[in-house]
Symmetry: C2
Subunit: 328 residues, 2 copies
């Protein structure tokens, strides 16, 4: 195991968000693992990720790397509606990437990173890094994610969003309120998307230590939402729905934006992911100049990419290790 690393934070003074909101102080929370290593990897968190729970590959593919895990805006650690007065309703992946770039360059005095690796919303953030700072990052690994949120994915997110916004205890104004009923309804509307038909059929929740579907449901739709805030979830969710790297460039289309990326990029969708479809990754790979595409052969669906089971995690770790070795 990598030695446990405390979360640290950096307050960016005078940060301007994409929507025009200007805040005099915006916090980024991060973990800096193995900080004396020369090679550097950046790992942005996913939708419900914290810097302490994110899969880091720090014992495997990134063993010899300095691994910086950084919380995206809205996760409740970095600046979010729940912890920052005046936080914008509408955030954008570009806000996350620009803030992370400031953290790395101005606070940590880093001149370039060898790899940006992300899962899900972390993967979209990694894609934005390639589009916005192509010379600052060398390689990019995108796990169960996409350069643009698909229409299907967008529509799926409309479900949990509406469940939350219409809940009896939801308040758009009071971001310090958690809204427990709304979060539970959100969790329910989200839950069947996480894995796959075959995962349920094979009762693989048992591999996670749950005896019954009901026990898994309770943990997944209730317990796991404790400590999260309704308006934080919504801010991130809208950012996710609007994900599209073509807004970062002059490119008039996604295809053109993908063609402009010159970074080496590894796409690792999962075969049974119900919302970040491998078909979307396969389409993207056709436009990327230096892409490798490999499909995680798993019935764990989307969460295969998040470190939920050893087999898929080891598979990814090996694949990423191989990718990071440059032919010299």
């Amino acid at each position: 195991m990598a030695s446990p690393t405390e979360a640290q934070s950096y307050d960016i003074p005078d940060f301007k968000f994409q929507d025009g909101t200007r805040l005099s102080n915006v916090r980024l929370v991060y973990r800096d693992i193995n900080p004396s290593a020369t090679k550097i990897a950046l790992l942005p968190t996913c939708f419900r990720g914290r810097v302490g729970t994110t899969l880091t590959f720090a014992d495997g593919a990134l063993k010899n790397y300095r691994v910086i895990v950084v919380a995206i805006f809205g996760n409740g650690e970095s600046a979010s509606p729940s912890n920052t007065k005046g936080f914008p309703q509408s955030i954008d992946y570009r806000d996350c990437v620009r803030a992370q770039h400031i953290l790395l360059t101005e606070h940590l005095r880093i001149k370039a990173v060898d790899a940006v690796i992300g899962f899900s919303m972390g993967g979209q953030t990694a894609y934005y890094w390639a589009a916005m700072f192509p010379d600052f990052v060398r390689d990019v690994v995108v796990i169960c994610s996409s350069a643009r949120t698909s229409r299907h994915n967008y529509q799926f997110l409309e479900g949990p969003k509406a469940a939350l916004e219409n809940a009896a205890d939801y308040s758009a104004e009071d971001s310090a309120s958690q809204g427990q009923r709304g979060l539970n309804a959100f969790g329910k509307a989200y839950s069947a998307w996480l894995t796959s038909h075959e995962w349920f059929e094979q009762e693989l929740y048992k591999e996670l230590g749950f005896e019954t579907l009901q026990e898994w449901d309770k943990a997944t739709t209730d317990t796991n939402y404790q400590g999260w805030y309704a308006n934080d979830m919504l801010a991130k969710l809208r950012m996710w729905q609007n994900g599209d790297i073509s807004v970062c460039t002059e490119a008039g289309s996604l295809e053109e934006a993908l063609r402009r990326i010159k970074n080496r990029i590894l796409l690792l969708p999962c075969q049974t992911d119900q919302y970040f479809s491998w078909r979307a990754s396969a389409r993207e790979s056709q436009y990327l100049e230096f892409a490798e595409l490999d499909i995680i052969p798993s019935v764990w669906g989307h969460i295969a990419g998040g470190g939920t089971n050893k087999r898929d995690t080891e598979w990814m770790d090996k694949r990423i290790s191989k990718f990071l070795v440059h032919p010299s």
Copy 2:
């Protein structure tokens, strides 16, 4: 076109539901198309089906049939929480089938039906017919459905259910209230399941006359729920979640219950159905003695089976025609 047929109704006196509730009067609504024909087909409605909107095949495969479309309990036409005082909270497919059997034998004086054909919840009802009255029905056609609701399907339904039950305007006591916000949240949580990733990718809502995803969303999650009632939806949804034909027999398992079915049965799942997976139908077909399995080759997902597009409807119509011809 078959000539339009008025909906008719029959009030069953003194009906006892599976949960013990006894009502002195329980209404069934049905349409009787081409009533002078000798061959008879029964078509139970689906989750959001009305007797007037159900796909009947009456101009094709069932051209020479008397086609009886019957509304399942909870659809707002037949007895439902919204229109029947004291209607049970918990209903069961066995209630629907026993009531339909009474309608056919005692009111319409029918001694046997040549085919029971159903889509989705209608398909589950058809399966129950085979399990409960194997000698009363000859052939069975199950479209985008299953003999037992899969765990994945069950969990998907937890989403719309929780969205509705936690909505600001939901009342478990007042079944005459529609609960518009709750129904909208329900519709949102349901919407991305209806079709498939590729359907959204190819913007096939345009084939339905919608210019944009937003227009389709508005119709699908809002307009289409007008006239429906929250507690009606929940009664049907729970019946669906508990669907399992093995409760109808002494069989100890689903496999054994399937083995006991001696009817000819045609299973027509759709290749891209996200909740009634073709994989489940393929597994079921292994235990059925006289089953034919054919997979609708379509990106329209679940709703391919409901008559939403001409190509799939024609494909099914041909396949059902072929199936209904008995080798003599």
